[in-house]
Point group: C2
Chain length 178, copies 2
């Protein structure tokens, strides 16, 4: 951030009164511009014993498989974001279940939230950001080709919880890849 989005003047880093850390402060109008972590919401859509995955058509991780998920928009809830992203990326309609995983990724300042969901019909298809959409039974999951660690974790938890007969909300924080 180099310029003030309110007036167009240059911003400088300084610690505002009553604050503890440097912020981008406008040298002309004094506006303080905060940077905040971003929320990603998505779904784990289930049909019988299978889960719906999308193969990504865009970077990052183009060609890898993921659950439908994306950045939350202004004015929506986490659940609405999960439903919208599933429609956009997999052209799929779901009934939302419970919030299932919340994964912190502090290195990239993101929080990923995945809901369990029931796929309502089989009329899914790749959206603009997907190359392919497909249902996978547990033994078919392409574990080596999952796009993101938060998605990998959510899928692992899902199959373990399903085997145990009950689902538990889980929060995780992922560190740097070693």
């Amino acid at each position: 951030m180099k310029y003030c989005s309110a007036c167009g003047a240059e911003v400088g880093l300084r610690v505002p009164a009553g604050d503890q850390r440097p912020r981008h402060v406008c040298t002309a109008c004094g506006s303080i511009h905060y940077l905040n972590p971003k929320l990603v919401a998505g779904a784990l859509p289930i049909w019988e014993d299978k889960v719906l995955l999308c193969r990504r058509a865009i970077e990052p991780r183009s060609g890898f498989w993921t659950l439908p998920a994306g950045f939350m928009e202004i004015g929506e809830s986490t659940g609405e974001a999960a439903i919208r992203e599933t429609l956009e990326e997999a052209c799929a309609r779901i009934e939302l279940g419970e919030m299932y995983t919340l994964v912190n990724l502090p290195q990239i300042s993101q929080v990923h939230i995945i809901y369990r969901a029931r796929l309502l019909d089989l009329d899914f298809a790749p959206g603009e950001e997907s190359l392919e959409t497909r249902l996978f039974a547990e033994h078919e999951i392409p574990w080596e080709k999952i796009a993101f660690r938060s998605i990998y974790l959510s899928l692992r938890h899902y199959f373990k919880d399903r085997a145990n007969g009950h689902f538990l909300f889980r929060e995780e924080t992922l560190g740097a890849l070693s």
Copy 2:
């Protein structure tokens, strides 16, 4: 948002290729500036049968009582944010328990997350943003003077769950005040 934070030129609203909604796009360098919901994280710090509340010294809701909570910073996890905010607003050290409530407030594009927590000692005191910090037993809670609905809900759930003998993670979405 009127000016590009990357180059200082004017931004205009238009729908970028492959997108579904209008974004702030720079008329000079083409940067797309997304607006995203913000995460607020906080704690419900318990000492014996009492909960630690702070009376706000700042707007909004100055003079009203709240749990220690605030905007998540870049580079931290939701749990780290809750611990930091508790230290800043109540000068209090906590041991974090489980994530307890996640409250969507789509009208103001915020998501509030509250953790159960154990207060580690009684050396708490008002931080810069608080007028007063105090432990409250259930019958002492100033229900009419709680600053935010997400905090009110989290406290209500807490005392109900405690009476029932087990705590359940809860997601809520708050609509417009009627």
